[in-house]
Symmetry: C2
Subunit: 343 residues, 2 copies
Amino acid sequence: MQNNNVPSPIRVVLDAMGGDYGPRETIKGAVEALNRDSELEVILVGDEAPLRVELEGYDLSGKTVSVVPSEGKIGDDEHPIRALRQKPRSSIMVATRMLNNGEADTLVSMGSTGASMASAVMILGLMEGVERPCIGGPFLGLAPNTMLVDMGSNVDCRPALLLSFAAMGVVFARRFMGIENPKVGLLSVGAEEAKGNRQVQESYQLFQDSRLNFVGNVEGMDFFTGRADVIVSDGFVGNILMKFTEGLGSALGPYLLQQLSAHLSARELGNIISDLWETTNLPRKMGGPLFGVNGAVILGHGSSTSEGVAGAIATAVKYVKLDMVENLQAGLAEVQLQTQVKV
Amino acid sequence: MQNNNVPSPIRVVLDAMGGDYGPRETIKGAVEALNRDSELEVILVGDEAPLRVELEGYDLSGKTVSVVPSEGKIGDDEHPIRALRQKPRSSIMVATRMLNNGEADTLVSMGSTGASMASAVMILGLMEGVERPCIGGPFLGLAPNTMLVDMGSNVDCRPALLLSFAAMGVVFARRFMGIENPKVGLLSVGAEEAKGNRQVQESYQLFQDSRLNFVGNVEGMDFFTGRADVIVSDGFVGNILMKFTEGLGSALGPYLLQQLSAHLSARELGNIISDLWETTNLPRKMGGPLFGVNGAVILGHGSSTSEGVAGAIATAVKYVKLDMVENLQAGLAEVQLQTQVKV
């Protein structure tokens, strides 16, 4: 799907059943997004009866919101591909088909990551040169200009796959984050070329040859040093890091409460701790794009409340406005051309 | 080396040349440790002239401290095994030999981790059933009862190697941390058996069969949930996590400074930030034991100042008092016996 002109209004199709708190929080988040952005249109996909019940609580005058019925949802505990076959009318399948048919410009889902990805791959297809899609973006409020890719879908990655992650990360960093010539680093255990596991060692030369702005291996602390703008790892490491940071942010709250309760009012403390929590939970606040599929798909955290849903919708709108899908396709083609020339 | 009776005084041999700030901070740290523990004896190994110069600044009356001369040191940038061959009289080699000969009860080094490990393996030898040594311990002040093993020496680990890490971690958690029946988790990207990279998937069944108190896969947030006491990963992931946490702790300082400067005095703020920094840098404060070699070796962070050196010496003393080397050997034998019986 190519958008040479930015559509207006931007039509977001939302898997309203998805996530731990759908449809209550997904619908609440959609309404919040509609309140903030008058140019927005939201299409809610889900079991019709509960959606209608939820919607009754809101004043929707002047807002463009519609309901498209679907049947059932796919849970985190289900095998994604099997579940998609068994539930072809499930919310994620219906929503993805709408994106593919041009009935929407972007899709937002808080549902099972595996099911959202599988649905996107099956229906939208992969971009040329991409073997598997990935998730990426900045993940720390403390380091908002450093992005991590992959955040958790692909374990055991071959070098060419990591290179495709990097190429898409660079496009995202340039267009979405406004970094002119993003520096790319391979996440490892030492800066030297010989340092790292087999996967990193095998990837180093390919990255070196790719003419990406490759700065070599980076280490865990380099999320905070600015040595690289795009830090590339497989999804095993990326997912562990992301969840570790979430856990750390939650643990810091009680710690600071204890440290600071003598100095600050309960309200001041509450603000600081909630700010800190957000700082360590950026993807929960804004969602993350699914790179490598032919469509604008934004995945949110399963435990998102309305604020996370509204944040993911805002990310989706920006993603469409910046024409990210076409830019990612172009970025991939460029890297592949360069790699082929070099080889 | 077996210690059926705890030696008194405990003789710590310190690679005084090691680390970014040796011998100045290593010697300062040794003196701090001697001030705190009257039962301690410290043997400083290093280039004699600079060591004598540093020692002149201290009042050592009533303290048992001696200097054993060596020639040169091995840097972080050198290939460990090659450097050991070229510098057989280097501080780490001389110190390790003293431990092996029974001239010291425990060795503390802030020097090149690779060189310290290689020297320990060459001179002390590996425990039976251990293919490679590893580093482990609690690494977060926010989660002081959760230990991580391996923290950064072994990438690309086979299942049996991870199992040996776990077995040693369990002994450490039981004896050193006082946890009666430590729960063991494999660090992965989901709790289900099928989740994880190939390494984790291949290890799961072996762990299941081992009769360790295996609770299955754990995730990044489980460092803070208490689901497992001993979290096992390869050193690639472990090292990235440890360095990431260090970086995060350093970045939180300026962040909190900004958030809190209106509420707290500079002094109060300084205390809180330094406490937080320690909380995210536990290994820098107390060092970490090298598991799997036939001797009590404690490795400290290369950038340790005197406090880190004194902390590592305290860890070394506790390690000897708890007879950890013999206990680790016994723990390994037990796991191997069980695994063989099951197979």
